[in-house]
Symmetry: C2
Subunit: 167 residues, 2 copies
């Protein structure tokens, strides 16, 4: 790991929780992007005391590089235990970068129905957008070299950490 | 017309032109959303002295209310006189509202290829977003009642005006 940047995932999660608390309404349905966003949505649901289970959505089938990546284990990750039609969805992701994943999961979502609204919340916005997609809330904005990947991981106690990788 | 808001379309266009001049590069390809955005892209191409003809894109085939609207004359409006693959596209629209049209035209664009990037520029942002879509540039931000529509029109001399309509 060549990065000198230290990101405290638990501290950022606390910020995210405070932010989501301000914008969540009784009509909000949480949907987490597999896998990091799904963990966040799960923990937000607990910490906010929401009654409904969050949905999980995968970008696998709608990715614009699907043909070069091929099928992966992610394909079956989508699980939306509610009617998507007319729903106000708060889409949760760990890291926002180019926006291509967000486009893919929104298309996946629309395969299930026509939501009343979709707003995006991310733990980390690393810039580098290639599509006109923006979150309503991000706990941190960082800049990373293009060859670095960052993703959320969970340790054995369920605590969040960031995993950096040079690709 | 019950609106008391006066929007000077020509003055806003001058602002838009100044803004686009700052962000356009030799690699930028303009694509206008039919119909208002296409007129803007056409005039920007002339005023910026760009060599390449702008593309025109229609949202008709990808709209999420396609089944209730049915086929319209817009269907054939898409005309992209270049390879979309690897292209840096500046998408131009007259009015940004829910973001659903933008989602639809981006999907239409991806039917033709995988652009390197798509950034959105709009003349007027009227708020009311239902999707996590944001422009890099808008010449004005306004608020309108939900039952009002606004769209760009061209007079006989090719000058821009806004047309307001209560629906």
């Amino acid at each position: 790991m060549s990065n000198t940047l230290h990101l405290d995932a638990e501290a950022l999660y606390a910020n995210l929780l405070a932010g989501v608390r301000r914008i969540v309404t009784p009509e909000t349905t949480l949907v987490g992007v597999w896998s990091g966003g799904a963990w966040l949505a799960e923990r937000l649901t607990t910490d906010l005391g929401l009654a409904a289970s969050p949905g999980v959505i995968s970008s696998a089938l709608h990715r614009d590089d699907f043909s070069s990546r091929g099928m992966s284990a992610k394909t079956d990750a989508t699980h939306l235990p509610f009617e998507v039609d007319g729903r106000h969805i708060l889409l949760i992701d760990d890291v926002l970068y180019t926006g291509r994943t967000t486009r893919a999961v929104i298309n996946e979502l629309f395969d299930f129905g026509r939501p009343a609204s979709v707003a995006l919340v991310v733990l980390v916005d690393r810039g580098g957008r290639q599509l006109p997609i923006e979150p309503v809330l991000s706990a941190a904005r960082i800049t990373l070299p293009a060859d670095q990947r960052v993703a959320l991981v969970r340790d054995d106690n369920g605590r969040f950490q960031f995993h950096f990788e040079t690709v």
